[in-house]
Symmetry: C2
Subunit: 175 residues, 2 copies
Amino acid sequence: MSKDQSVPKDGQDGQDEQYMEIALELAREAFQRGEVPVGAVLVRGEEILARSYNRREALQDATAHAEILALREAGARLGSWRLLGTTLYVTLEPCPMCAGALVQARVSRLVFGARDPKGGAAGTLYNIPGDPRLNHRLVVREGVLQEKCAALLREFFQARRRAGGGADTADTAHT
Amino acid sequence: MSKDQSVPKDGQDGQDEQYMEIALELAREAFQRGEVPVGAVLVRGEEILARSYNRREALQDATAHAEILALREAGARLGSWRLLGTTLYVTLEPCPMCAGALVQARVSRLVFGARDPKGGAAGTLYNIPGDPRLNHRLVVREGVLQEKCAALLREFFQARRRAGGGADTADTAHT
């Protein structure tokens, strides 16, 4: 197994923060397009394998969360569904679908910004990436640029409420 | 809300079994293509909205489980990610990713065949479709054509072991 497939170390020299800034930029792009603002970046070594943001409304696809799109893009790019040695940066704690997808794809490390109190599955409602019963586990770091990530989501939902967003206004951040 | 968006009733007159037979046929198609044999059908009223089978290897996409592909196909067909009033038939208990996706897509009812003792998230390791903390819940029926569904998976993994399938031989049924 090549060196770059070992579990990546905790980001040194502010590396985690740098990648999270890119994920935040992608989340802002989602915001501008009227999507719940969540962005993700998938990295191996120094290489960014995928950049994505939530596109549920644009694609009318319930599975089109930022994390899922990043895994699919990286799989297509590498020609392999196995993404060992990668780190997924995402601005919001993954939901059960996305946390399960990270396990399926054998992603090695997850770094997220804000917790999702209503639907988070990486420590809040569930801890799917750390479940010893599943056949793969991830190292998880949370809270990177937490306040910026959370503020963007708050701003989005406040704007939607002001606009009278209907039933979805009561939804959780990511669903 | 139209009548067909209410929660579908438990299959009458063997309807659940009929749709599961179609899902089984799709699972056999997966088998022939060297994929872990899981098939799925998404139904609303009398209409089949999507037919799918696991295509992880063909697409080199860790998220290409039968359930996810069915949700994406139906979303594209209906032009809506919201699949209220639908029933998803699948030969194997969904993993956390797929169970979470069913919640995301607001599928109303889940019918599955065999349990997945190593990774099932609809009653075995987790009960994601029934979690009252999430913003949507599904009615679940399990055990429909259970023995046929399980036998197909056993046959697949036995054949792979005989062929010396390598690391994946030790995987769970669906992962």
